[in-house]
């Protein structure tokens, strides 16, 4: 039982933090949002730092690092509310490495690692809400593989991605496929989302696809769990920064002739924010530490984590705006951007109520970190 970071992890953190502080300023981020919410050059800089390669196996040109290293990176990206979806590299590389046939791995993993391609998960369907087992997309056997017909929404950086990992029904069960953007009959419609990042609807009409695995639901679950752990870590970074900025503001802002940090009502609110931050950090660790656990244990743990993170994100976000006063609801002030990011994260990969339902349904007699 040890929650210390290794020297390597500390160095990794420092390197990402330096890039965020110097290379991804609020001004640059604002320009990226205005230009659509995704910048290939910025994604390329993440690749140059070695981050797209982080969790790719060494055999495929990656660094072969684990969930905690990914967590460290995501925390730092969260501090800078970085828009480019590095988590998608962790998610899709993870699924390909664990489930795809060797030749498919060899074709894609080295290019994910180098940042040459961006591969994203395209799982959201209108009728599914947060359920992974609801999938209307259909796959059929075609002359050179498979053909998929599907409509997927809110696909991260969907009109910028080079390929998609798509769940679809095949012979009555969910299978996972890889669809190249360059394939025939792929159409995307991009748009911004509330946090300033970019997403797209993806429409496939008998589009050529390559099978990753017929064990699709299990693979999709692993992908989403990886995404949840990454979102939790990112959220911790956002909340860390939100709290720091807000607490600083309480000490700077003067009303009635004194710093508003002297008012007990506000001091207690700040203490409650700190509570939510630390509970969230604890459960973010928990999520990443449990990513390698057997499926049932992992499911429970990731849902526990997302419930805590969801509550923490909503509280910290809302209270940061409240404690900032009028400036908190302006576009100019960074806290409003933290708030929108936290809100979007709560509603990604299953919101608090969804995961509370999961925890509730899976409760056992015993509970606890080691249960």
């Amino acid at each position: 039982m040890d929650f210390d970071f290794s020297d390597d992890q500390q160095q990794l953190r420092d390197a990402v933090r330096r890039w965020v502080d110097k290379g991804y300023t609020f001004g640059r981020r604002r320009a990226i949002v205005a230009a659509g919410g995704f910048e290939r050059a910025a994604y390329g800089e993440l690749a140059e730092l070695g981050l797209t390669a982080l969790t790719v196996p060494e055999a495929h040109g990656g660094l072969g690092q684990g969930a905690i290293d990914a967590m460290v990176v995501m925390e730092e990206l969260g501090r800078g509310i970085v828009l480019e979806p590095l988590a998608q590299a962790f998610v899709t590389a993870g699924v390909l490495a664990q489930y795809a046939p060797q030749e498919l791995q060899a074709a894609w993993l080295p290019r994910i690692a180098s940042g040459e391609v961006l591969v994203v998960l395209a799982q959201q369907e209108r009728k599914a809400r947060y359920r992974l087992d609801v999938c209307e997309a259909k796959a059929v056997v075609a002359p050179n593989g498979y053909a998929i017909t599907a409509i997927k929404n809110i696909v991260s950086a969907g009109d910028q991605a080079d390929a998609f990992i798509v769940p679809a029904q095949l012979d009555g069960q969910i299978a996972l496929f890889l669809v190249e953007r360059a394939a025939a009959d792929v159409s995307t419609r991009g748009y911004g989302t509330q946090d300033g990042s970019r997403a797209a609807d993806l429409q496939l009409a008998s589009t050529p696809a390559t099978l990753i695995t017929t064990d699709g639901l299990a693979a999709l679950e692993l992908a989403v769990h990886t995404a949840i752990a990454a979102a939790c870590a990112y959220a911790v970074g956002v909340m860390d920064q939100t709290c720091a900025v807000t607490f600083d503001y309480l000490n700077q802002r003067r009303q009635f002739g004194v710093a508003i940090a002297s008012f007990q009502a506000l001091r207690h609110r700040a203490a409650d924010m700190k509570m939510q931050l630390e509970l969230a950090r604890s459960m973010s660790y928990y999520a990443s530490l449990k990513l390698g656990a057997p499926a049932e244990e992992r499911r429970r743990a990731l849902s526990h984590a997302k419930v805590q993170l969801g509550q923490s994100m909503r509280f910290v976000g809302q209270q940061a705006v409240q404690l900032s006063g009028g400036i908190g609801v302006t576009d100019e002030y960074i806290v409003s951007h933290y708030f929108k990011t936290l809100t979007q994260l709560e509603m990604s990969w299953g919101d608090t109520l969804h995961h509370l339902g999961e925890v509730s349904a899976r409760m056992q007699e015993q509970a606890g970190v080691f249960a």
């Binding site: 929650f3 000490n251 630390e278 928990y286 339902g357 509970a367 970190v369």
Partner: protein, 393 residues
């Protein structure tokens, strides 16, 4: 970063588990698992069993006869005891006053007092709070006046937990009115059987007398029962409060009580009631998150870092959780939590509890009793002040 305990720590856990299983009287565990009334004999009986093994002094270093366990081992020991249904260790002797005597007492005082604490034969009480000193402890007024080789103590302590059983008592007393309130306080040990000591139980809202008023009327206390220097008692008290930070979260007991809540929910037909079950699920998330927070503090202590900024959160969250599980248990029983039959909370009662489910008898009383947790040990509002101090200055 690693969630698993080391093989040595896991072996240690197994050793403790096996010993507790073999030595905890089943009748005691039955009472704890069902929140039935524990007598002085139960509490002291378990203390003596632990004392014989050398584990009542579980937090002590080897030089004072303790096992010299690490923070993690202490945590595992407490967890195994809690999950097995052991009565709580009454902390005033082994956990609270002993470290002060070790750090600031003379060798004679250590020789005189520590053995009786370690073997569970002497019951200690805490003399901190006064009618005018709740969370503001530095305002204590109980006077100790030096006359020759004695102190003459006059005044009143209150909220003295289980003081009706007490043999000895450690007190914060005022020996000077000079300077800041904190500077005139001394730390004095006192035999509760001394002439002039009166203990008066306070009946609480659950009908029990868990706390007491203790009056001092010209009580003579030999001067060699002063710990350290006169007027330095505040420093020693702070030392005491800095001990056992993770223990205050009581997460191990919370895990045991969550299991009990689930049993009650099943018995009351609520396990499949989604509205109620979600409330249990929320509590479960809270408990896992608190346990992770506790483990983080332990890990930091293990690697020599000061977890001050998060340790302050443990009492707040831990006490809120205690109140919540007590509340949910009561709500689970619904109207069948309402009958007040005091005898039904004693083990072995043969009567018929309304509705026929005896397990419901203590639920409302426990709920009422648990309101204390956010008040004592520095109210949660004071705790928030402390947290705010660390983050805002």
């Amino acid at each position: 970063m690693d969630l698993a305990f080391t093989p040595e720590e896991q072996a240690f856990r197994q050793e403790v588990r096996a010993w507790v299983r073999a030595n905890l009287p089943p009748a005691m565990a039955h009472k704890v698992h069902n929140a039935l009334r524990l007598t002085r004999d139960d509490l002291q009986g378990w203390a003596r069993i632990l004392g014989k093994k050398g584990w009542l002094a579980f937090g002590w270093p080897k030089e004072f006869g303790g096992p010299g366990w690490t923070a993690v081992q202490k945590h595992l020991f407490e967890e195994e005891c809690a999950m097995a249904g052991a009565p709580r260790i009454i902390p005033f002797g082994p956990v609270m006053v002993a470290p002060v005597i070790m750090a600031y007492g003379t060798p004679e005082q250590q020789k005189r007092f520590l053995p009786g604490i370690a073997d569970g034969s002497v019951w200690w009480s805490q003399g901190y709070s006064e009618p005018g000193s709740g969370s503001d402890l530095a305002s204590v007024k109980t006077r100790a006046e030096r006359v020759g080789d004695k102190y003459i103590v006059n005044g009143q302590k209150t909220w003295t937990t289980l003081g009706q059983h007490g043999d000895w008592m450690f007190n914060l007393v005022r020996t000077s009115n000079e300077g800041k309130p904190q500077t005139g306080i001394s730390f004095l040990l006192l035999d509760m059987k001394s002439p002039g000591v009166t203990v008066r139980p306070i009946k609480l809202l659950d009908g029990e007398c868990e706390v007491n008023e203790v009056f001092f009327d010209n009580v003579e206390v030999p001067a060699d029962q002063l710990i350290g220097q006169e007027n330095k008692g505040w420093t020693y008290a702070k030392h005491l409060l800095s001990h056992e930070r993770t223990n205050i979260a009581d997460v191990n007991r919370a895990k045991r009580e969550l299991e009990r809540l689930k049993r009650i929910a099943r018995a009351e037909g609520l396990w499949d009631d989604q509205r109620f079950r979600d409330q249990i699920a929320l509590l479960e998330v809270d408990i896992v998150a608190l346990e992770m927070l506790v483990l983080r503090v332990l890990s930091m202590e293990k690697s020599g870092k000061n977890p001050l900024d998060i340790a302050g959160l443990l009492k707040i969250k831990g006490s809120e959780i205690q109140q919540r599980y007590a509340e949910l248990m009561m709500l689970a029983a619904g109207p069948y939590a309402l009958p007040l039959i005091q005898e039904a909370m004693d083990a072995g009662w043969q009567g018929l509890f309304p509705g026929g489910t005896l397990a419901n008898a203590p639920l409302a009383s426990t709920y009422f009793n648990m309101r204390k947790t956010t008040i004592y040990g520095g109210s949660n509002e004071v705790q928030r002040n402390i947290v705010a101090q660390t983050i805002l200055g």
